[in-house]
């Protein structure tokens, strides 16, 4: 077993005390980046499902007094030929209760969508759709009910109107289907099915998200600690030069240097971390000769243990971005250039 780092030359002796770091407010317990829903969301989900359960129980109790839902349909359609008994419950109230159930069962779907989608994939119009769709679907089914003629009419109307829309994420289609499923079940009066469908969907989606199943291929040995707010597209292959990505969990940026850097508005500071000062400078300056309009070495700092930091003030040429300059530094500098960034 070897370690390439050799004992250093004696640096200036500095007395260090624990107090130099300040009071150290952070807990020493390890923190796991586990995805979880917060107490507020948990409370809201429970309240929504409780509300839905109470409404369903109320409707079931009332329906014991009403022989069938056919009466409601007949009343709504004002079909004089219908022999069905009119419901004891006022139809408008019945429809309102069913719409309430549909709404209460769709809200958890929308909440889960908002919580589990990464910012880049998030589609705010879908949230509204998922909330409203079950209400509309259940309403349509209440109107159509057993009428074949109305069903054909509805199909004709739907065919006439174009609903084509590209979803940002194919998984969004699942939410649409779940919303339609809930609305359908409510519309045909299978309220317990609607409740279970919403509950199971919510539980499964949260479970998949919590376990980060979609990115399981990234895990090594089945385990991975993640920063709390990881953009999901980091690490995916992208065409062209990689953008300068800022990511949660980054060590805090280092101070530029003890002296302020004087620079023009169109100049940036390129910091290069290298294992050898001469090789590092040689590589970077070779790249900058090609890709920069002008540049100057502001500072070279060494830790005294083989590691050196080079700060260049750079004005890139018009046809080169800093991202392409960094790409070139990495490409030509290996293995003596460890990293490069714009600060």
């Amino acid at each position: 077993m070897t370690s390439p780092t050799s004992p250093p030359p004696a640096p200036p002796a500095v007395q260090a005390t624990v107090g130099d770091w300040g009071p150290g407010p952070m807990s020493s317990a390890p923190v796991l980046a586990v995805r979880s829903i917060g107490p507020t969301m948990r409370r809201r989900l429970v309240l929504q499902y409780l509300g839905a359960a109470v409404l369903i129980a109320s409707i079931a109790a009332l329906e014991d007094l009403v022989p069938s839902m056919t009466g409601l349909a007949a009343w709504l359609l004002q079909d004089p030929s219908s022999t069905a008994t009119a419901p004891l419950l006022a139809p408008w109230l019945h429809v309102l209760l069913l719409a309430g159930v549909a709404l209460l069962l769709s809200l958890p779907l929308a909440m889960v969508y908002v919580r589990t989608r990464a910012r880049l994939k998030y589609d705010e119009t879908l949230v509204e759709t998922v909330i409203v769709l079950p209400v509309i679907v259940s309403g349509i089914l209440l109107v159509v009910k057993d009428s074949l003629a109305l069903a054909f009419s509805l199909a004709g109307i739907v065919a006439a109107v174009r609903f084509r829309n590209n979803l940002k994420d194919s998984r969004d289609a699942v939410y649409i289907l779940a919303a339609v499923g809930v609305g359908f079940a409510v519309g045909v009066g299978s309220l317990q099915v609607a409740m279970m469908l919403s509950l199971v969907f919510t539980a499964v989606e949260l479970s998949l998200w919590r376990r980060d199943v979609g990115s399981d291929h990234e895990r090594t040995l089945g385990m991975l600690c993640l920063p709390t707010a990881t953009p999901l597209d980091i690490g995916r292959k992208q065409k062209g030069p990689q953008p300068v990505v800022k990511m949660a969990g980054a060590p805090p940026p280092l101070p530029l240097s003890p002296t302020a850097i004087e620079r023009e508005a169109d100049e940036v500071v390129l910091r290069v971390y290298a294992a050898d000062v001469d090789e590092g400078k040689h590589t970077v300056e070779q790249v900058l000769d090609e890709m920069a309009k002008r540049y100057r070495l502001h500072e070279a700092r060494s830790t005294g243990h083989g590691h050196v930091t080079l700060d260049y003030v750079v004005k890139p040429r018009k046809r080169h971005s800093m991202a392409t300059i960094i790409d070139a530094v990495y490409e030509r500098g290996a293995p003596l250039v460890l990293a490069a960034e714009v600060i």
């Binding site: 385990m223 600690c225 460890l338």
Partner: protein, 177 residues
């Protein structure tokens, strides 16, 4: 499968011989419990493969979820400056619930390091740039969590358990002939 953006450098901390046909680079965080678990597996694999495997540690502190990870990484570098990277590395993983400032000084004392020098390095953030460099090249290689392993510059994905990882290493050995 992702590629390692920066292959083995002279400053990397290495276990195992340089001439080993398989080089495993691990991006890890001293406060990450999965990294500690993975490190145990890597040590077992080093024993199993003898001189045919080299393991490299690179820092990838997830500072927003592991508040002590950055300083622990700098502490490991400060220990490296006194020739004791791996003893400090093992100690930090073994005592993940003791990574506070006082704990780090205690670890340094127990490893017979020059505690004044060690503390001075930490206070002056001498090795913050070194840790930052590892983090940056990890990010460039597509690392977003810890532990992330690369075998012969290729990212290891979807491997579960020591035996599966051993298979990957064996396959890399075969590919090298």
């Amino acid at each position: 499968m992702g590629e390692l953006a920066v292959p083995r450098t002279p400053l990397d901390h290495r276990r195992g011989p340089d001439e080993a046909p398989v080089v495993l680079v691990a991006y890890a965080d001293f406060q990450c419990p999965h990294c500690a678990h993975a490190d145990g597996m890597l040590r077992a694999l080093l024993d199993r493969f003898g001189g045919r495997l080299q393991v490299i540690h690179r820092h990838f502190p997830l500072t927003d979820v592991h508040p002590h990870a950055q300083l622990a990484a700098e502490a490991a570098e400060a220990a490296a400056a006194q020739g004791k990277f791996w003893p400090m590395h093992d100690r930090l993983y073994a005592a993940q619930d003791r990574l506070g400032e006082r704990d780090l000084l205690r670890h340094a004392a127990e490893l017979d390091l020059d505690v004044d020098l060690f503390g001075a390095h930490l206070v002056q953030r001498v090795f913050a740039a070194r840790v930052r460099a590892d983090w940056l090249n990890g990010q460039r290689s597509g690392v977003r969590g810890t532990p992330t392993l690369f075998v012969n510059d290729r990212r290891v994905e979807g491997v579960r358990g020591r035996d599966a990882l051993a298979e990957v290493i064996r396959a890399a050995m075969s590919a090298r002939g």
